[in-house]
């Protein structure tokens, strides 16, 4: 509890544009505004065919509501600041990078290979150095999952260098 209070006080001492509540509110408002502008480009139903409200009205109302509520949380945060979040560790960025690697491999090489690569990469980055366990999470377990989904549930995985060998 004391720690949280300390973090809140530390946050209050920062200039307003460095505070989390400002940055988060700004991001929400900017995205909502961009989406709100997009709604003005939705097609309009001609009055003769229109029953009830236009398709853009409901999302517009929601976005305005989100912007108003975000302003309220920002206002409340100026009185009661959020606590400062700790810096994200290297392992977080590595895990995020593994998602990117997964996307690239699944798109260019193979879906199954992408799962294996991510599993081994994440497990290694999180501290697993034993070969057996790396093989367990990276090869043995994905094979079990693949067989379960492919044979029992009848799922067909997207083509790739490994799945093509299996299917042919």
């Amino acid at each position: 509890m004391k720690n949280v209070q300390k973090q809140k006080r530390a946050n209050k001492s920062l200039p307003f544009f460095f505070r989390d509540e400002f940055k988060v509110s700004l991001v929400i408002i900017l995205i909502s505004t961009a989406l709100l502008i997009t709604t003005f480009n939705f097609d309009i139903v001609p009055p003769i065919l229109n029953r009830g409200i236009q398709p853009a009205t409901f999302p517009k109302a929601l976005l305005v509501l989100i912007i108003v509520m975000t302003l309220i949380i920002y206002y409340l945060a100026t009185k009661n600041p959020w606590k400062i979040e700790k810096k994200l560790p290297k392992s977080f960025y590595l895990t995020l990078l593994s998602f990117l690697i997964f996307l690239v491999i699944s798109k260019t090489l193979d879906f199954f290979l992408a799962i294996s690569a991510l599993s081994i990469f994440v497990s290694y980055c999180w501290g697993e150095k034993r070969i057996f366990y790396l093989l367990l999470v990276g090869i043995m377990f994905p094979v079990i999952v693949f067989i379960f989904f492919e044979t029992i549930l009848g799922l067909r995985f997207p083509p790739g260098i490994i799945t093509n060998i299996y299917y042919s």
């Binding site: 988060v24 929400i28 989406l35 997009t38 709604t39 939705f42 097609d43 139903v45 065919l49 029953r51 009830g52 409200i53 398709p55 853009a56 409901f58 999302p59 929601l62 976005l63 509501l65 989100i66 509520m69 975000t70 309220i72 949380i73 409340l76 959020w82 979040e85 994200l88 560790p89 392992s91 977080f92 895990t95 995020l96 998602f99 997964f102 996307l103 699944s106 798109k107 879906f111 799962i115 991510l118 599993s119 081994i120 994440v122 497990s123 999180w126 501290g127 697993e128 366990y133 367990l136 999470v137 990276g138 377990f141 999952v145 693949f146 989904f149 009848g154 799922l155 067909r156 997207p158």
Partner: protein, 490 residues
């Protein structure tokens, strides 16, 4: 007495018992796997039921339904990922309790409350199905809109976060539901020229992303922290004290779930949310909610399983499915030549009570699997994260892909994983997003249809007594967190 004997019929048939056993086990496995669930399971098994007689076929589907709904709670507790959307509210307290090293206690409570909720709703189904079906008939579009709004206002009081942040997250969830072709006019909204988005964003990729993937990212920030989870504590089941503390909550949530389940399209997700919220409102320790409250687990789980029996009421008595899974069951009924409706109660009581009996037995079976399996399942929390989470990733990716066999769904899942991580980091709960997404279509659909009925006159909503009651309840639900926080300050 005759009806009771008819209900017990499955017990005396080895074939039906075998079907029940297989259905319950299959439902549990599907419920546990993120991305799958009783609806997918029912749809997968539907062609297979053609080889069975009508009663066995429907017994198989209903047992998958009951067990699958419960199964969603297991992953909600263990890995913060609801196996089914109805278990989203269970994450709020189930996972924090498991993180405290008391996974067995959380799972045991989820199992007991699910069983009680399920059995309670079957009893309601047996005695009040025709009356409840009539009640559901009284609900028109304006009433559904008011009820959906009531469900959404419950978001203000869930979890330990700020009510306004919850409402923003809920509104964001509804906004996601508007992506794709507008259902009334077929006009594209927020598709940005991407063809795959015209069908909208499915809730499975969003659920798996917001819960499983964001949790994986959260765990990546904690790898240097040492967790001392003691095996004996992890596998400990709920104590007598826990049951004493929660029996009222379980019964209340069972009643709520049975009622909400009866209303077509509302289903277990809304039921669990309202059950959870009411549990918090009546609790002597509301401050414990969101931090591992045993009452929170009981409230959510009893309600979402009670909704299974409730959802069968309009399915059987009116031929209107009460949820996505009962829509599959309804399809099963029709392809086997059974015509649901009020006449079913008069013309085929043996068939009908056979289904009720099967649901009752399915609840007992998943209790046996769940309660005694809780000690084994709880051991998952003892598996090191560096091994557990890559495995969860593999299952999540395949589960999400399996839905539409679309790689775009996997990308959406990863996107929501990153978004969910940052939402949680800055105090936004991810549960309201899911509730908003599920209710979004209902809110917009019923609002627009009501306005057509009312010829654009908004004030007409207040001339409908049921709708007005729900609007008043919504105001109370919104005011409640404010009153409570002022009380705490004093």
């Amino acid at each position: 007495m005759d009806n009771l004997l008819l209900m017990m019929a499955p017990l005396f048939s080895s074939k039906l018992l075998l079907v029940l056993f297989f259905g319950t086990l299959f439902g549990l496995i599907l419920g546990v796997l993120p991305g799958l669930g009783p609806t997918t399971g029912g749809a997968l098994i539907l062609p297979f039921t053609m080889t069975l007689d009508p009663l066995s076929a429907i017994v198989l589907l209903t047992s998958i339904y009951c067990a699958g709904t419960y199964g969603g709670a297991i992953t909600a507790v263990l890995i913060n990922t609801p196996g089914t959307p109805a278990a989203a509210a269970t994450c709020l307290d189930g996972y924090p309790l498991a993180q405290k090293g008391e996974a067995g206690r959380a799972l045991g409570m989820a199992t007991v409350s699910s069983t009680v909720g399920g059995i309670f709703s079957v009893i309601i189904l047996v005695f009040f199905a025709p009356i409840l079906a009539q009640l559901a008939y009284e609900f028109g579009q304006p009433e559904y809109f008011a009820l959906a709004i009531f469900g959404l206002t419950m978001l203000a009081s869930i979890g330990e976060g700020s009510p306004i942040k919850n409402l923003i997250a809920g509104a964001f969830g509804i906004l996601i539901s508007t992506v794709g072709k507008d259902f009334m006019t077929s006009i594209d909204r927020f598709t940005f020229g991407i063809n795959e988005l015209t069908e909208g964003i499915g809730f499975i990729p969003v659920v798996v992303g917001l819960f499983a993937m964001s949790e994986m990212l959260t765990q990546s920030t904690l790898i240097n922290q040492v967790f001392n989870r003691i095996a004996l504590k992890a596998i400990k089941l709920p104590s007598k004290d826990d049951y004493k503390k929660t029996w009222k909550t379980i019964l209340r949530s069972s009643g709520i779930g049975s009622f909400i389940g009866v209303l077509p399209a509302e289903g277990g997700t809304v039921a669990s949310l309202i059950g959870y919220s009411e549990a918090k409102r009546f609790s002597k320790k509301p401050e414990e909610f969101g931090k591992g409250s045993i009452e929170g687990i009981a409230g959510a789980e009893a309600a979402n399983n009670a909704a299974t029996g409730g959802a069968m009421v309009p399915t059987l008595a009116l031929g209107i499915p009460g949820s996505a899974t009962t829509a599959v069951i309804l399809t099963g009924l029709i392809i086997h030549g059974v015509r649901p409706g009020p006449d079913l109660f008069r013309e085929q009581p043996d068939f009908l009570y056979g289904i009720f009996g099967a649901m009752l037995i399915a609840n007992v079976l998943f209790f046996i699997f769940g309660f005694f399996g809780a000690k084994i399942f709880a051991r998952i929390t003892l598996v090191p994260n560096k091994i557990l989470w890559p495995m969860i990733f593999a299952v999540s990716v395949c589960g999400t892909y399996s839905l539409n066999q679309s790689i775009i769904d996997v990308w959406i899942m990863l996107f929501f994983g990153v978004l969910g991580f940052f939402m949680r980091r800055y105090g936004f709960s991810v549960v309201p997003v899911i509730i908003g997404l599920i209710l979004g279509e209902l809110v917009e659909g019923t609002l627009r249809q009501s306005l057509v009925i009312f010829d654009g006159n908004w004030l007409m909503f207040f001339t409908r007594p049921i709708a007005l009651t729900f609007f008043i309840l919504s105001l109370i639900a919104l005011a409640f967190p404010l009153i409570r926080s002022k009380k705490f300050k004093k």
